[in-house]
Subunit: 205 residues, 4 copies
């Protein structure tokens, strides 16, 4: 019976899903346990059977998103043939942006939440989240070894790349980019711009 929520077996799953939907629909500020409960079709109390607190629920959601993102980044990297660092990094950048645009629900909780809420983010989850950046750093390091990237520190460069991609995704999600500009070519241009800085023959970053 693959229905909406047939019998109580996966209330936890339903809560996570509805929370994600509500987050994108109304924003974090307007998210409340009661609203989630209403959307799921259970009592607010029941949520606490599956999540210790609102924060814990949010954290679980972030964690899910981080793992999905990791899978997609890795898939992007592995799909490029032949596997050159330049092509891989480009594929990963595209995968990152695609993930953000296609999962604005996840993306907002994952990367746009207040520090206050993230301060208590569990160490284990944090470690998993960091793996995404490490994925970028590894490919950049590979490129340095092969002499195709000209950067001093792969970790720093991974962060720099991330800020560029994140800015792109957030402004698109926030619908702040002028409609006259925000088309497919814009995304491509921004990604290319973000990647070009690493290439040999350009000033070091």
């Amino acid at each position: 019976m693959p229905d909406a929520r047939p019998n109580g077996t996966d209330l936890r799953r339903a809560i996570l899903d509805q929370t994600r939907h509500l987050l994108v629909a109304e924003g974090y500020d307007h998210l409340s346990m009661r609203k989630i409960a209403r959307a799921v079709g259970c009592s607010a109390t029941s949520i606490y059977l599956h999540f210790e607190s609102k924060d814990a629920l949010i954290h679980a959601l972030i964690d899910e998103g981080m793992m999905q993102l990791h899978a997609q980044l890795a898939a992007g990297r592995d799909a490029c043939e032949p596997p050159s660092p330049v092509a891989c990094l480009a594929a990963m950048a595209r995968a990152y942006v695609r993930f953000g645009l296609e999962n604005r629900e996840y993306y907002q909780v994952m990367f746009q939440l207040h520090p206050e809420r993230m301060a208590r983010y569990p160490a284990d989850n944090y470690r998993r989240a960091r793996r995404n950046l490490e994925l970028f750093a590894e490919v950049i390091a590979d490129g340095v070894k092969e002499g195709v990237f000209n950067v001093e520190n792969a970790d720093v460069s991974a962060h720099v790349l991330w800020t560029a991609l994140h800015g792109l995704v957030s402004l698109l999600l926030a619908e702040r980019v002028d409609v006259k500009v925000a088309d497919e070519t814009f995304v491509d241009a921004a990604i290319r711009h973000a990647l070009d800085g690493f290439r040999v023959g350009t000033p070091a970053s």
Copy 2:
């Protein structure tokens, strides 16, 4: 009349100022009409005489912020001697990032508010906000004319630059950049990276 709030003439001004102070001091989430009223020294009701709603007040504040940002961008541009587009653009990028980092909560309200709330953003205000991007575009266009920038469309490039700078500011504000990475040189590296893509001799963006 150097009094706290001399005559009724400028309650509106006082409300905007105190709201900005509160915003910077306590953050958007903790901003309430009552707190503003207390800070201003008037009744909560009085605020409604000058602003239709909390949203309208926020919008007015955003507008002011956009104008402040504009002033600082212009100042950055005008301060560079001799006035080369390359130096000017760098000065503006640094001014943008500085504005964001120094006005944490203000920046969040200006650029990270939920789209729904911005949907009703008045057209006049929107036009003023766009002037900031135009400032970037103008300098880029100058650079193209002088042959120092290699871009196809100055408007698009201004947006691309913006996304990069915005990503940098947001992740720093959200304290998402690893402490091992987030120092002064990181900001410099990211800004340089964002600018290098436009330089002659690199692939067009």
Copy 3:
């Protein structure tokens, strides 16, 4: 128009009264702002216009009770003719017990509240509350001066007397005294017992 609550002029008064009633009817544990509001006929929010918090409301109630008790103790003392310390102290003891039995509402909040709640009791209120014990101590001191009381320290003796009277009142209010025993003569016997210890010719206390 001496009706229940004719026009909003004295919501504060109504809140205090209803809170007192609810306290005796349902006990402190079951007192809630909502219930008070329902009893008064206003919204829960409105209570906060008159009292900063639930604690502040309780404290105000205690303060009222303390002042009323003071008035009745003083009245009891002043009413005895001729004004001998022995007769005055007896009159005050009877006044204390009468106050407790006739104002169980006040009494419970005044003297049976958890220390936690009293820890934050405002200093001014506390000073007023202490005046009641001082009233006892003064009369005892008078009696010592006149040589009719045999006690070492009037302050300590006032406290000792208080514990006895308080025990009497609380057990009667809690309906813990056997019905076969709890009649008028019992109260008289207990009061006499509490006073006799001070009389000259009995072992010092």
Copy 4:
């Protein structure tokens, strides 16, 4: 089987014990079925297999407390050598006060619970609770027979004594006795004062 909770045989016992511990440690207000269950190591539901409701559990606990108090009073009485009524009564009074002060939260549940909750106190339990007062009454009656106590009715006097001791304990527990007064000598003075009234040579009570 010196295990934590060896076999299911005595879950009831474990519940009562843990409830008592929690009560002493955290107070009545913070006592919840869930906490008890956690402390015992069973599910909250299981408690209901052994106690009809929270009230029933509390009642059972009160009953145990009354029996403990009875044991300590009897022990105090039996420990005095030679067994004179005066010394015995004093020993019992001290035992009562000690029990109250050493079992703060227990005492509150036993003697300061709202009448409404006690209304449903089972008759059998009530009978057991009364045995404590009878213990006092017996010793007083003995003293009357021996001519060392001068009271009309031993039952009434036992109650009178109880009110005095209860007042002492309650005000000390509620931390209402002035710090300048509340030391060891104060307790002694109050107990002596409570007992002196019965002695031959003082007016009857």
